[in-house]
Symmetry: C2
Subunit: 207 residues, 2 copies
DNA sequence: CGTCTATTTGAATGTACTCAAAAGCGGTGG
DNA sequence: CCACCGCTTTTGAGTACATTCAAATAGACG
């Protein structure tokens, strides 16, 4: 993983721009703070199907996706993969438990296509916390939003049929859903790939 | 709701002690910071079955439970109640989305028995953020822990049978589970009360 | 064109739900 | 002490939703 020195390429500048806009949408940072915040991030490219993190490792990074898509999943006791969420541009990826407490990760993070992200290490993130108090607020807000989304999903899982969850997923995340195989959609919805196929047929014949 | 002035009763002092110990376990606060942190909280008693919050209201508080138990739940589209979690002593209760963004709450919070908690208002909490930067860290850590727990629960919901979730709930939270009716357990597990009864019979005859 | 993988299909099975009825279980008042 | 009330739990039959396993089909790519 090469870290570009002083002279960043145009592509990486674009990624940093995306990160800055993300931050600006969530907290009021001045330009100097914004630059200081972005500085410790380094660009990383991940090939299709490559792993950013595998369960069992300790997660050394927190990443902001700038291009492509990832799946974050855990293996259940029977060895089946359960997707927690898919992350595209403007999403963050990490195993938050493993990263903050430096314990072994339960999650795996895999690129669905050739993807790019900006990553920061734990020590650099802690330096940011110390240097810019508002960073603490930024990450608190991010975590809160994730929590609210996850609460909604849990309720939905208990309330809706697989067909309803399928339709909700496609209406909430059409861009992501379009790119996914049946297997991935199934492991997000918590059903078998065969059943996703049956949902599809039912929806197709109904129209 | 009476607010005790200067001279707190012994009971309330005990509650504050519980809160202080909670904070100390999570961040390193000095004694002055600890006192300043606890100061804006006020004690509140809630009768059995009374509501601390009803969906549709705006949540004006964040609460630290010191005695008793609460259920936090949402109503699904078909009007069935889905419990997100039960909160006993040492747990926090709020609709985090409603509280932080002052939008109408999706959650309802009801006391399962006569209960007590320490509550703080949004403006007081924001004063704390401003006065003691480490408070931001405390709440970030709290939110992170909640997020990790919720992630595990979502995976479990997709991975385990109702019977397995029932056993897991009882082994994770025996103190809470003991006090609950079938209806509440069912609405936490995401099954019908009738089915909880059938799980019970199966487990009983197996031994 | 053949190979590899993903998707679809069907039959049999299992898990959990619905609805209705019966049984249990404190309380409360006669 | 018992009879009755309201509430929760249990039970059972019938049904719906989702899984498993195996086989057929369709797509993608060299």
């Amino acid at each position: 993983m090469l870290k570009s020195d002083g002279a960043h390429d145009h592509h990486e500048d674009g990624s940093r721009q995306l990160l800055k806009e993300y931050v600006r949408r969530n907290v009021d940072f001045g330009d100097p703070e914004l630059d200081a915040f972005c500085e410790p991030f380094s660009q990383r490219t991940v090939a299709r199907n490559a792993f950013l993190l595998k369960a069992g490792q300790v997660c050394r990074f927190e990443g902001f996706v700038t291009r492509g898509y990832f799946r974050l999943y855990a293996e259940d006791p029977r060895g089946r993969e359960k997707v927690l969420y898919f992350a595209g541009p403007d999403w963050w990826v990490t195993d938050i438990d493993s990263f903050t407490n430096q314990v072994t990760a339960q999650l795996s993070i895999q690129a669905l296509e050739c993807s790019e992200l900006l990553v920061i290490s734990k020590t650099d993130k802690e330096r940011l916390y110390a240097a810019i108090p508002k960073v603490e607020k930024l990450f608190r807000i991010m975590t809160q939003k994730t929590l609210v989304a996850l609460q909604r999903r849990l309720i939905g899982t208990h309330s809706l049929s697989a067909e309803e969850r399928y339709l909700l997923f496609f209406s909430d995340y059409p861009e992501i859903a379009r790119r996914l195989t049946n297997v991935h959609i199934a492991s997000y919805l918590g059903v078998t790939p065969e059943f996703v196929s049956k949902i599809r047929r039912k929806l197709a014949t109904r129209r």
